[in-house]
Amino acid sequence: MRILYINNDGGGFADYIEVPSGTSVQQLFGERMGDASPEGYLIRVNRQHAAAGQVLEANDRVSFTPIRIEGAV
């Protein structure tokens, strides 16, 4: 199924991707964010805070935004 995946870490990424039906938020995070810890991110589905076990649906808008973003680097 197709979802809108937004990663606001680093350079920023926003595009539609294909994921298997039944994919959870936690699974998507693990696949896309590598060793990053979910505790360090604001995780939203359709602009709402989402639980790790929430199962994604077609055309969902998923975003990962770091909680700590340092200015003036």
Partner: protein
């Protein structure tokens, strides 16, 4: 808050129109002139600090110069990149805007949409970084200028600016401009794609994160004042005041009088020309012979050591005391 739904739809439509107009605009050719001028000023200050031996002040100024030069470099790179690439960014639907605005109302204390100016502003919760209270901030975004280098400003609503620079209301905000650092590319992407919620959330996280070592003013020096003699920022723990002129001094520039032990700046401390000790004007006494101000240790019976030595070495040259008798006017008797 935008209510009811019809007004919200109208707002979203007009915001979308603003972004469509933006896409028709040429990229803004905004050179970092102000930052370059700041760099030039810093170079002049560094030269003066080196000439006066103020090494600590020079090091601090060099750090600021590095920041300004890196900022100039990044802005020039961004401008060059924008000139090379054509602008073809899809604008979100009005439906997307409505959902973004509704989500912003849940995320922030206050959301304001100015349709006339095509401007959206949100108010953050009060920002506290390392126990320094900076107050809430308003993030104001001009939709028609989202391709510009600074399409938004950060307004301190209850400012607690840095003691050394009132324009710095947050370690990473100066003159209402946020230094985006790690968030720069994500902000640019969000603005180009019209993802308003993401833009405001990213900026909000930047305001709630402290990057030590790369701030306009570090939090450890937030309530600091500059030393009058060397320019170094002093905090509450290492700040002193001249006992005579009351100017701020750092620990390194505080000169202690060898007699009364009070602290003075370089202008107000003097020295004894005989023993070269440091003394304030109150602890120096004029020699009654040569009138030179000397310390008490170098003074005996009101005469300084130098004059004493001269009297001892050359007694014949001691000053003659004329004895003039009224009946012997015109004649002078020299006493042996």
């Amino acid at each position: 808050m935008i209510k009811p739904r019809k007004r919200l739809f109208r707002a979203a439509t007009q915001l979308r129109e603003a972004l469509l107009q933006r896409n028709k605009q040429e990229p803004s050719l905004h050179l970092p002139v102000s930052s370059w001028q700041t760099a030039q000023s810093l170079v002049a200050k560094i030269d003066r600090a080196h000439a006066r031996g103020w090494n600590q002040a020079a090091a601090s100024l060099l750090e600021r110069l590095c920041f300004e030069l890196e900022y100039c470099r990044d802005r020039l790179n961004d401008l060059a990149a924008s000139l090379r690439l054509p602008i073809q960014h899809p604008v979100p639907t009005a439906h997307e805007f409505i959902h973004d605005i509704l989500a912003l109302e849940q995320e922030f204390e206050e959301v304001c949409v100015d349709l006339q100016k095509a401007e959206i502003s949100v108010t953050t919760e009060p920002v506290v970084l390392e126990r320094v209270h900076l107050g809430p901030f308003q993030i104001c975004l001009e939709l028609k200028r989202t391709f510009a280098s600074s399409p938004y400003r950060i307004v301190a609503l209850d400012p607690n600016p840095a003691g050394s620079n009132s324009a710095v209301t947050h370690p990473h905000v100066q003159d209402e401009s946020l230094c985006e650092g790690e968030g720069s590319r994500a902000i640019k992407a969000a603005l180009e794609q019209g993802r308003l919620l993401d833009f405001f959330v990213i900026v909000n996280r930047l305001l709630h994160t402290y990057g030590s070592g790369s701030a306009f003013v570090e939090l450890c020096s937030w309530s600091g004042e500059p030393c009058q003699d060397c320019g170094r920022m002093t905090g509450n723990d290492d700040r002193s005041y001249c006992d005579r002129c009351d100017e701020v001094l750092c620990d390194g520039c505080l000169n202690s009088c060898d007699d009364c032990l009070s602290g003075f700046c370089a202008e107000c401390i003097g020295s004894c020309p005989i023993c070269d000790g440091a003394y304030c004007s109150g602890c120096l006494t004029n020699c009654r012979v040569c009138t030179t101000p000397v310390c008490d240790d170098c003074l005996s019976q009101g005469v300084c050591k130098t004059c004493h030595e001269q009297e001892t070495e050359c007694p014949d040259e001691a000053e003659a005391v004329p004895a003039v008798q009224s009946h012997g006017l015109g004649q002078t008797a020299l006493s042996p």
